[in-house]
């Protein structure tokens, strides 16, 4: 057990940092600090491609798929430097971090060949079609249907239904969709995992305005949407297993990138507190210290989790991680508002820094909801990690 990095690793850090600094002070200076899901989409597609060419899109991937086969330590370093450089948030994170590993585990060779390169090179942006209005916490209640039909383009899946909370759907090229392919099936049986092109008449996207005032999520409607019969991952009816595997990848190295964003938010908060004198308030100081402890907790919990994941085990800290950060960030949001004081109540803050912190505060209210509410997380921990009895379903 050792937390320091080797000289070779520090050398890698240096290389990454230099490349990022060059890009973000040079040709991509306009993208520095861009963090919203929805801003500067076309420019960020170009940036994704730039990362791909430098083999920095997914450093941990095998070399044959466009990565560098980087060690865990190197992936940590990349995530740190990426955030430190204030590089733009990854437009294609759902493709890079969720779909691609799923394909690497469950996809056919043809699927890998077809889809991985456009992901790593930033050519095709992906979004995720899981939740539905009546399948939120109870994801297995999915009602979106797909049936196989023959037609002029060969066999195709035809999809009808509605997904919700589909972030990035407004400009994504593809979506991975969990849908019911066995008529009359219930719960987690009879579901399939389909890859569906977004740019077709059968797919409609409607933005959802959130309490932040922005619309970072969407509703996505499928009305006779089509995709080739081959665009199914895993066997028909095995979609639940594949979808759960995808969710498990949320605990992957991407978590390190997210942490560095948290670190940036924390540092912005400290800066605001120093600027308006709140940093001398003993109550605020305690909470800043507590938030700082949380950053370390997340960092070292993630490292434990990733190390253990390498050995294939889903260990205790992996169950608790999601709940921890959701609760942590919500508290950070509240602290930010208490630091700002009354002027934090201006609709757009009274400075860009205040505006960002306020947005973080508002957005953080969803951190304990999306991707499984805290209540669902606690069930998981209690039942799967502590071995307590399962919650019974109703009728």
């Amino acid at each position: 057990m050792k937390i320091g990095f080797s000289a070779a690793q520090e050398q890698f850090r240096n290389e990454v940092a230099t490349w990022l600094a060059e890009q973000l002070s040079g040709p991509y200076a306009d993208l520095r600090g861009v963090s919203s899901h929805t801003a500067m989409v076309e420019r960020r597609r170009v940036w994704e491609a730039e990362l791909g060419r430098a083999r920095l899109s997914s450093v941990g991937w095998p070399v044959e798929w466009g990565g560098r086969g980087a060690s865990l330590a190197e992936q940590v370093i990349f995530a740190e430097e990426y955030a430190r450089a204030k590089a733009p948030s990854r437009l294609n994170h759902l493709g890079v971090e969720l779909l691609a590993p799923t394909l690497l585990s469950y996809g056919t060779e043809a699927q890998k060949t077809r889809f991985l390169e456009p992901i790593v090179m930033g050519k095709e942006i992906w979004c995720q079609g899981y939740s539905e209005p009546n399948a939120g916490s109870d994801l297995a209640n999915v009602a979106t249907r797909a049936r196989l039909e023959s037609g002029p383009n060969g066999d195709e899946w035809v999809i009808d239904g509605q997904k919700i909370w589909t972030s990035l759907a407004a400009f994504a090229d593809w979506i991975f969709v969990l849908c019911r392919t066995e008529e009359g099936s219930r719960g987690n049986r009879g579901l399939s995992y389909l890859l569906v092109p977004m740019h077709q008449a059968g797919v409609t996207v409607r933005p959802i305005r959130e309490m932040t005032g922005h619309a970072e999520f969407n509703e996505t409607f499928f009305t006779g949407a089509r995709t080739a019969a081959a665009n199914i991952v895993g066997a028909p009816g095995e979609g639940w297993k594949v979808a759960m595997a995808t969710l498990a990848f949320e605990r992957g190295v991407s978590t390190l990138a997210q942490q560095m964003d948290f670190t940036n938010e924390f540092e912005a908060l400290v800066k605001a507190a120093q600027a308006n004198g709140q940093a001398t308030d003993p109550l605020i100081r305690q909470r800043i210290a507590e938030a700082s402890i949380g950053l370390s907790v997340m960092r070292y919990s993630a490292l434990r989790m990733l190390t253990n994941a390498e050995s294939g085990a889903l260990s205790h800290e992996a169950f608790t991680y999601r709940l921890y950060w959701g609760v942590w960030r919500k508290k950070l949001g509240e602290l930010a508002m208490d630091v700002l004081g009354p002027s934090g109540e201006y609709a757009h803050g009274d400075s860009p820094l205040a505006h960002d912190l306020q947005h973080m505060f508002l957005f953080s209210r969803s951190d304990t909801i999306y991707g499984g509410t805290s209540q669902i997380q606690r069930n998981q921990i209690a039942e799967r990690a502590l071995g307590l009895p399962k919650e019974p379903r109703g009728n």
Binding site: S131, D138, E210, M211, G341, P342, T373, G394, N395
Partner: protein
């Protein structure tokens, strides 16, 4: 000692609730918040001229109903349930107590009957740019220049300033002999040199503005009272207003809890109403504990606003303000969580309550500021470092 509503109070509550349920639905509230000055003038006229709400706590001698803060609190509470945007808080809960505490008799005769009749709207400008809750840190100065007096500086977070006819400006005064005092100066909102800038707030249901005073000439007669430092009377009036914010917060908390309780009884996941899950049940139980605690505090403080002397009122008002603000914040936060994704959307009501809860908790002193004030009131010796707001 009788800690329950009288029949008359019960009646006021019931008729106010019935009126607002009919006239101030949540969509109407949203609409009003987008209107000029952020409220519905028609509704305001009904509330005042027809129902007499603005005069409820004004003595009969000045055209009011001569009741007290408990009755006023009932109205604040009912409006809090609906987040009704209106000049009620600024004019009736804040400016009126300031006038009653500090104004000269002829000032009272000039303003109070007009307020009671719904013909005068007022606002109190007391907070500086930072938002300090300490009245010694006001951002407006009143200086004697020869025999004239001049007002300059800024006031921020002024509730209801856009719609106010009358501004009551709290200023630190220095007279020709360089002696310092705190004064409240009455300024008509159209006066030359007075610039009112509406500020867009997160909480759209309570409009605020910044006011800039550029060498505004006033006369000694424009001050409330005669040659006395306003600190003590102002503090009392602010404490009375705080008790009304507490009652209003309890109303919002109560409604939030009712709405989310109804939702979890309907919403089905895993084949069950989510309200049948013990995690949800217990969370709502804890929420209800907060709401009931806040109710007890709010009504205690409303009584104190009528009955207590300044020092005891200060502790009661600070206790109620912080307790009710904390409860409302917690309830509104839980309500978003238990509504799930839908509770996070713009079109749902939950965020309006959530934002109002936070905005109210930062108005006239944060919970932490009030707790420090309570500590001082308990006799714990003064310390160097106190919360700014």
């Amino acid at each position: 000692m009788q800690f329950a509503f009288t029949d008359e109070q019960q009646m006021i509550r019931e008729s106010a609730r019935a009126f607002l349920e009919a006239e101030a639905s949540l969509p109407a509230v949203r609409l009003a918040s987008g209107a000029v000055n952020g409220y519905d003038e028609g509704l305001w006229q009904q509330m005042t001229a027809e129902l007499g709400w603005s005069g409820i706590a004004i003595p009969e001698a000045y055209g009011g109903a001569g009741l007290g803060f408990v009755e006023l609190g009932i109205l604040a509470h009912e409006q809090g349930r609906r987040l009704v945007p209106s000049p009620f808080f600024s004019t009736v809960c804040l400016a009126t107590p300031v006038i009653l505490e500090l104004a000269r008799e002829e000032q009272k005769r000039q303003w109070l009957p007009a307020i009671a009749a719904g013909q005068l709207k007022a606002a109190v400008a007391v907070t500086d740019r930072v938002g300090h809750a300490d009245i010694r840190k006001v951002g407006v100065k009143l200086a004697q220049v020869g025999s004239a007096w001049v007002l300059s500086g800024e006031a921020h977070f002024v509730v209801g300033a856009q719609s106010a006819d009358l501004l009551l400006v709290v200023a630190s005064a220095k007279d020709a002999n360089a002696s310092q005092s705190l004064r409240v100066v009455a300024v008509a909102s159209g006066t030359a040199g007075v610039r009112i800038e509406a500020t867009e707030m997160l909480d759209v249901t309570r409009p605020m503005a910044s006011i800039y005073f550029e060498q505004v000439s006033v006369s000694a007669e424009d001050c409330l009272g005669v040659d006395i430092d306003a600190s003590s009377g102002l503090q009392r009036a602010l404490d009375q207003a705080r008790t009304m914010l507490a009652a209003e917060a309890v109303g919002g908390a109560e409604y939030s809890l009712e709405a989310v309780t109804a939702y979890v009884k309907e919403r089905v996941q895993f084949g069950r109403a989510i309200g049948s899950f013990q995690a949800i049940k217990h969370r709502l139980a804890d929420t209800m504990v907060l709401v009931e605690a806040a109710k007890s505090m709010a009504w205690y403080a409303a009584c104190a606003a009528d009955e207590y002397a300044n020092e005891a009122l200060a502790v009661a008002a600070s206790s109620a303000k912080s307790c009710c603000a904390d409860a409302f914040n917690a309830v509104a936060s839980n309500a978003i969580q238990l509504h799930g994704g839908i509770g996070f959307t713009w079109d749902h009501h939950a965020h309006l309550y959530f934002k109002r809860a936070r905005a109210s908790s930062m108005l006239l002193g944060s919970p932490a500021w009030h707790r420090e004030r309570i500590a001082l009131g308990l006799g714990l010796s003064q310390i160097a470092s106190v919360p700014q707001f």
